[in-house]
């Protein structure tokens, strides 16, 4: 046996390979991004034959994994919770059709939210799609559950969702593991058009089949004592019981243990759908009140139908938004115990400490683009060239263009383009010439850009689209994009040209440049703007291409410049506010604007931004 501290996502990867998973597809997104790389690490170290791919988006990933499972293989597909929205079309249909080999969808939730647009609860997507969902409390449990999910999926021929929340994905835990073995099971496709290509008439039959599967699985979950259990003592009555699952269960369990309050019974449910009602009913009967602590929404609270007895979000006992961190759960328990005149918990933190922290006026740390980031150069040029434009943008590091005043909107993957065309038509309807500049990253463009761009071209929208091409998927940890042709496992695939896709979408104005060259960028934006206004014009696409400094390190700045600030500096703070490079700062001791040479990457872009020309290259 080997022992290793695994990231929760690594524990999930380990579970997948222990279960003989043969195909793993994914699109990166926090907090799911590390699952596939961890699979790849183990596949290489253990010499396995699992096929892996970074797919271009989550729907593509799910369709691919689904096909593998239809061929009888064990397949998994990993994404973040909002990625499941993209894959929803595929999920809903796959639930009806069913699988042959195992299909496990791992959709990682982000209560907080720490790095997402929403706090949506994947368990509700599972309920909507009518597929079972498992809710692990710890990395170790997630690892075991993956194997259980595979078996369940294969037995009932149904997709199964594993929903780890961020505190499972990005937890670290020490785990023991043995040798991993190849799964040599060969694929086979049995033609069965009434299933695999079912028309609405057969869909009704499949729906009935799905409902029968769910009823059987709910029964199975009632006796699934490895994951679902309660701490009732036979015949005893309780004033309060707690129903919990997932990460909040782990917290509740720790608090009750720490506080010696294991007299309060807990029902742990790791399979919230289909709900194991036969397990919940005796618990409900033994308790006068039941407090439901679950993340992120109210699935179990809805499913426990007794509104008199059940306390939770709907009754105002649990916060309706935000992460259920230990101190929040501690507060929920304390208030509920007090309200029911039961023995309270021992007070933990000093109640004044938050007032103290707030009184210190600590600097707000907003995330910023890295020193030398090519996006900064592009945004600076865009804002300068088109100050009155609406700046539609998208999901990625470059959402931080907000700080430079060059991002006005961020809706979902691909919406930079679709919102730009939407704005165009909304204003042109009024006869208003509203400048619009859309910015989208290279990976996001591959994910969801083309359909919106084809639509915009076809429907005659006019705007400037800047594709911020840093030759990687930066925010989620430097996954390769199709443009590089490097595949998930590092092998060489076929590179897909961004320029050719853009041209193929019907765009006639395409310029590729390096945004570090602000002068060139300004000139190209001017030409682009003219093109947008020409009678025969349309959408102008500028591909601002420069490698990400985290992914490509020194290679990203081959010509390093030593930068200094001269006495010409008027301390106007233009550079600090409008360029926002972490390497340019106001030095309190010197009382002047200065360059932090440890942070400065020598990109030299700032040399042309100062209105006084006070930022110069050192002699």
């Amino acid at each position: 046996m080997k022992q290793e501290v695994f990231l929760g996502n690594g524990a999930i990867a380990l579970g997948l390979l222990e279960a003989g998973c043969q195909v793993v597809t994914s699109y990166p997104g926090t907090p799911s991004s590390e699952i596939l790389p961890e699979v790849i690490r183990l596949v290489k170290s253990e010499n396995l034959n699992t096929y892996v791919e970074w797919s271009t988006n989550e729907k593509v990933a799910l369709d691919n994994a689904f096909a593998a499972s239809v061929a009888g293989k064990r397949a998994a597909c990993c994404m973040k919770q909002v990625g499941l929205n993209v894959a929803a079309d595929s999920l809903m249909s796959a639930a009806y059709i069913g699988t042959k080999g195992a299909l496990v969808i791992i959709s990682c939730d982000d209560p907080g939210p720490h790095s997402s647009q929403t706090e949506q609860d994947t368990r509700f997507m599972a309920r909507l799609a009518k597929v079972p969902v498992l809710d692990p409390s710890t990395p170790e449990e997630a690892r075991r559950m993956v194997g259980f999910a595979m078996d369940l999926s294969e037995e009932f021929r149904i997709p199964v969702i594993l929903r780890p929340a961020i505190r499972v994905c990005h937890a670290r835990q020490g785990l023991l593991y043995g040798n991993l073995e190849r799964n040599e099971k060969k694929g086979a496709f049995e033609k069965d058009p009434m299933r695999w290509a079912a028309t609405p008439r057969f869909r009704l039959i499949l729906h009935g089949e799905l409902n029968r599967k769910l009823r059987e699985i709910a029964k199975r979950f009632e006796s699934l004592s490895e994951y679902n259990y309660h701490t009732l003592e036979p015949g005893k009555r309780y004033a309060l019981g707690i129903v919990a699952g997932g990460v909040p269960y782990a917290v509740v369990r720790d608090i009750l243990k720490e506080q010696n309050r294991e007299d309060i019974p807990v029902l742990k449910i790791a399979t919230p759908f289909p709900f194991p009602e036969g397990l919940a009913l005796p618990f409900m009967e033994a308790c006068d009140r039941v407090l439901v602590i679950e993340e992120t929404d109210t699935l179990m609270e809805y499913l426990l139908r007794d509104r008199e007895k059940v306390l939770g979000r709907l009754s105002g006992h649990v916060p309706q938004e935000g992460e259920l961190v230990p101190q929040v759960i501690d507060g929920v328990l304390s208030r509920t115990l007090k309200e029911l005149n039961l023995e309270p918990l021992k007070a933990g933190e000093d109640p004044d400490v938050m007032d103290l922290v707030n009184s210190l006026n600590l600097p707000v740390r907003r995330p910023t683009l890295c020193p030398g980031c090519p996006h900064r150069a592009a945004f600076f040029a865009i804002r300068k060239s088109k100050p009155k434009a609406i700046f539609t943008s998208d999901i990625g590091c470059y959402t931080l263009g907000l700080n430079l005043g060059a991002v006005d909107t961020c809706l979902d993957m691909g919406a930079a383009i679709t919102m730009a065309s939407g704005f165009y038509h909304a204003f042109s309807q009024d006869g208003v010439d509203q400048p619009i500049v859309a910015t989208i990253g290279d990976s996001t463009f591959f994910h969801s850009g083309t359909a919106g761009l084809v639509n915009a071209v076809y429907n005659g929208a006019r705007f400037i689209l800047v594709i911020l091409d840093n030759l990687t998927t930066a925010m989620t940890g430097m996954q390769p994009t199709p443009a590089l042709g490097i595949r998930a496992d590092g092998s060489q695939g076929k590179a897909v040209s961004l320029e050719r896709i853009v041209a193929g979408c019907g765009v006639d104005f395409i310029e590729v440049l390096d945004p570090y060259d602000l002068k060139k960028m300004d000139e190209v934006l001017k030409n682009a703007s003219e093109y947008v206004h020409e009678p025969e014009g349309g959408i102008a696409v500028v591909i601002a291409r420069h490698p990400c400094l985290i992914a490509y390190k020194q290679d990203a700045v081959p010509d390093r410049k030593k930068v200094v600030i001269t006495d010409e500096c008027a301390e106007c703070n233009f550079c600090i506010e409008r360029f926002e490079c972490p390497a340019i700062y106001h030095d309190q001791e010197l009382g002047r604007t200065n360059i932090n040479n440890q942070l400065c990457t020598g990109c030299g872009v700032c040399l042309s931004i100062c209105p006084k020309g006070a930022i110069v290259e050192a002699a």
Partner: protein, 189 residues
């Protein structure tokens, strides 16, 4: 065993994940059950970053406020932001060279809760060793002068030796050891 709770904090890019990795590996080598929580994603681009580490029979990866026996801060303001985590009688190690550490407003709180504070010139030590990006190793080295099993100097040093990439190994150990000596000085005083 009593649960050991630690919180590590600082800014994105300062190497908090590496510190967490070293500490959790050290715990695992001594067969402590270990679980922890990390910050990934957007906050890594220069925002506040926090890592939690817990040793013992626990399932939750987050430390509750008022429960961390040790807080390691790579930046002074982040140490104040994370004051709510420090337990009564706990230890607070902060990377700072400021003569004004800790701020007066915080001092009363620290004294009231019998919290031992340690201002550690980790960045200065790292810089003087020609490794300006290794403040994290300097802070760990200083802490190791106070650390008990499984976080003694030898425990942590062994993990750094093992986990450092080849080209950084020697430098990492030099910074770590130099800061350990500083820590020992403070221990003796």
């Amino acid at each position: 065993m009593t649960t050991i709770n630690m919180v590590l904090c600082g800014l994105g890019g300062q190497g908090i994940l590496f510190m967490t990795k070293v500490l959790s590996q050290a715990a695992l080598r001594k067969n402590y059950p270990v679980i922890g929580a990390e910050t990934h994603g957007m906050a890594q681009r220069g925002g506040s970053v926090v890592s939690h580490l817990r040793l013992g029979d626990v399932q939750g990866s987050l430390v509750q406020t008022g429960a961390a026996q040790v807080v390691l801060a790579l930046e002074e303001n982040e140490s104040y932001r994370n004051l709510p985590f420090v337990a009564q009688g706990g230890d607070l190690f902060v990377n700072t060279s400021s003569p004004h550490f800790p701020r007066e407003e915080a001092k009363a709180f620290l004294l009231r809760h019998k919290i031992h504070w340690h201002g550690v010139p980790a960045s200065a030590i790292a810089l003087s060793m020609g490794a300006p990006l290794s403040s994290n190793l300097a802070l760990l080295g200083f802490f190791s002068a106070f650390g008990e099993d499984p976080f003694s100097h030898d425990d942590l040093r062994a993990v750094i030796l093992e986990t450092s990439p080849d080209r950084f190994r020697e430098k990492n150990l030099t910074v770590f050891d130099a800061a350990f000596e500083k820590g020992m000085e403070e221990q003796r005083n």
